[in-house]
Symmetry: C2
């Protein structure tokens, strides 16, 4: 169900953190809602429960998740934290992209053209329609 790449060199638990963080900041996983248990998530992602636990602990440390002893784990209701995480993440993704393209010698105009023509195949996948 979730595509964790074992061959990218990036530790799996970091990839999972990134995937879940995006589900939260995109609103696909709504604030306050419960997330599956560690064992179920481990199965869904096809990883060991310990690895999933490691990822969830980190997201908890970031304040995006919190655990209720035996009831399970939930997305934070604090939308401020979520919004901040989205801004921060978007900024990082954007900066990295610009840096890479510039480093490869692509001009601003050419890069924009590429973005314009490449964005078509990704419309309407998220529950968030606008972030202005």
């Amino acid at each position: 169900m979730f595509d964790v790449k074992y061959d990218s060199g990036v530790p799996i638990y970091l990839q999972i953190i990134h995937l879940i963080r995006q589900k939260i900041v995109s609103g696909e996983w709504a604030p306050g809602s419960r997330v599956p248990g560690v064992r179920d998530l481990a199965i869904e992602f096809g990883v060991n429960p310990n690895t999933m636990q490691k990822a969830l602990s980190e997201l908890e440390r970031e304040g995006l998740l919190y655990s209720e002893r035996t009831a399970g784990r939930f997305i934070t209701e604090n939308t401020g934290i979520i919004d901040a995480a989205r801004e921060r993440l978007a900024g990082q993704v954007l900066a990295e992209f610009i840096k890479q393209m510039a480093q490869m010698g692509f001009t601003r105009e050419r890069t924009i053209k590429l973005v314009e023509s490449a964005f078509e195949n990704h419309a309407g996948l998220s529950k968030r329609e606008e972030n202005s």
Copy 2:
């Protein structure tokens, strides 16, 4: 001189491969030109010679570098390989960017605006002025 991040979770040798690959596809390291020896490069990047060797071997496998037994290592003169590598790399970087932004709920228009305003701080760093 070169900023290798030890804390990103990405293996150092992969980061080095990426950095050098970009130097080649951007033209900063010209086709046919000699690159420093493994030991010197290791010092410049602040890593172990073995780690640098591992990175260089992979770039050699890709055809971007070749080694002349005792004379040293050189960038390929085959600009076709370099161009192909640049197209491939640019495509990956672009696709990843679009995917991330779309996943976070950013629209095409908002993304383009962000790219437009963010590209200012990176002008004129490369020797390649245009890739059209």
